[in-house]
Point group: C2
Chain length 293, copies 2
Amino acid sequence: MEIREKLLLLKQQIEQRLSSLAPNHSPDLLRDSMMYSLQAGGKRLRPAMHILAAELVGGQADQCIDMACAIEMIHTYSLIHDDLPALDNDVLRRGRATNHVVYGEAQAILAGDGLLNYAYEVMLSNALRYPTKAVRYLKAMQMISQAAGVTGMIAGQVMDVFLEGKEVDLKQLQYIHMHKTSDMITGALTSGAVLFTEDEKQLAAVECYGRNVGLVFQIVDDILDITAGDELGKSRGKDVAEGKATYPSLFGIQKSRQIAQEKNEQAKAALEIFGSKADLLRQLADMMLERSM
Amino acid sequence: MEIREKLLLLKQQIEQRLSSLAPNHSPDLLRDSMMYSLQAGGKRLRPAMHILAAELVGGQADQCIDMACAIEMIHTYSLIHDDLPALDNDVLRRGRATNHVVYGEAQAILAGDGLLNYAYEVMLSNALRYPTKAVRYLKAMQMISQAAGVTGMIAGQVMDVFLEGKEVDLKQLQYIHMHKTSDMITGALTSGAVLFTEDEKQLAAVECYGRNVGLVFQIVDDILDITAGDELGKSRGKDVAEGKATYPSLFGIQKSRQIAQEKNEQAKAALEIFGSKADLLRQLADMMLERSM
């Protein structure tokens, strides 16, 4: 199977499971506002990577699809809060009105809080279905919580907001990219693998792949912000207009593409120990790079 | 030892541990804004109850103090987000400027997100120190996550915001009180007990105590909003001014006190199976009731 076909299949499975995980005993307003953003589409890249990494080391998707969904919930909460008037003040996301535009600011804050906390509710319930693997699940959840947390995604977001409109150097840009984007991509991958293997070499390889592919993802996103049109469902050139630091603003587009290519090669090289079993993840890395070419 | 002395001792231990748990590898701004609200004082009632419930069933405080601190982090994040301009728009909390007044709205949102997520980081790291008790820790974390979550505290908060200024009936008031306040108090207690016992009768007794004491706590808070002065560190009569539903607004103060007294008796009766070992929790229930008399 090719990666595009596999991603479509995973997207279907993830979206089906996300629907069935809707919190039916919550107030309608809370459930609806959470599900509005959770069902807004998107590539479901992070949860797909979680499952791909699990399968790479011999794991079963049905034992980790809830954790994959939880990762998507965490990603979605971060988008809802990012879009708020006090932060990025975005009114469009994936071509649809953002959460606070539809539900108001107060409920958007609570929908985000709800999704973050519910991600842990879902992961803990799932873990308790496999009591003999409790420690593995604890480790996987720890990886996700740290990737999403105050030395991970939230740290990146804090610095991104703090440095907006200021002169930013390469070190600061790398800090923001690594934590705001790459940490969750890496965490999605390593948490999927750690559920099914204790082999340190395999875990290190998956992590190295994640680090590099996460950076490719962010650099390509920066490039697309300048070169792509409205098909992204958000305003073109928004980063530039807001004075956000990006790879193209520091290096230009051509050099940025070259860095992305190098990181892509390093990502694929990290998977060598898996042989052809890692072909899907190699294709995925190439696919992410190609978006920018 | 009397409960007041015990609470002072626990408060010291909890605050010391909270300080040592400060996330030192986070950006200064994030750590400072999280710790600003976390170190704002308060009675540390929820974490103290967690430890009291653990000790009631024979548990050790050192195995659950991190979980107690995580409960305080979750409570604190909920206060930061509650105080935001889009929600309660409070500028004072415990006599100090609220988080967004000091750090701005964007960072206050992120400080709240940070505390919520960090609570899970702390609980997961703690759980992994006791791998033979992994399932117990998973259960305790599940209780906390559900108490704090989209059928618990966040659900109560959503309804509280949604119904503000509207005509509210007793059923809706009870929904808000149970979920916004009582769930976390009950969750703090039951999660402390479940770490150290599997006895269903004991767990049910602790839960019943929590449900009743949680309601007493909320009714007394409602009464104090009307009768107390500025010593609460917040504006007197704020609930009334904002058209919030409260027990006194539905029943009057005298009848509200009577309901609180009944619930207090039920709370203490629930502890009968523990004999004199539950004296501290009985005194705690009385102490909470006496605030309103």
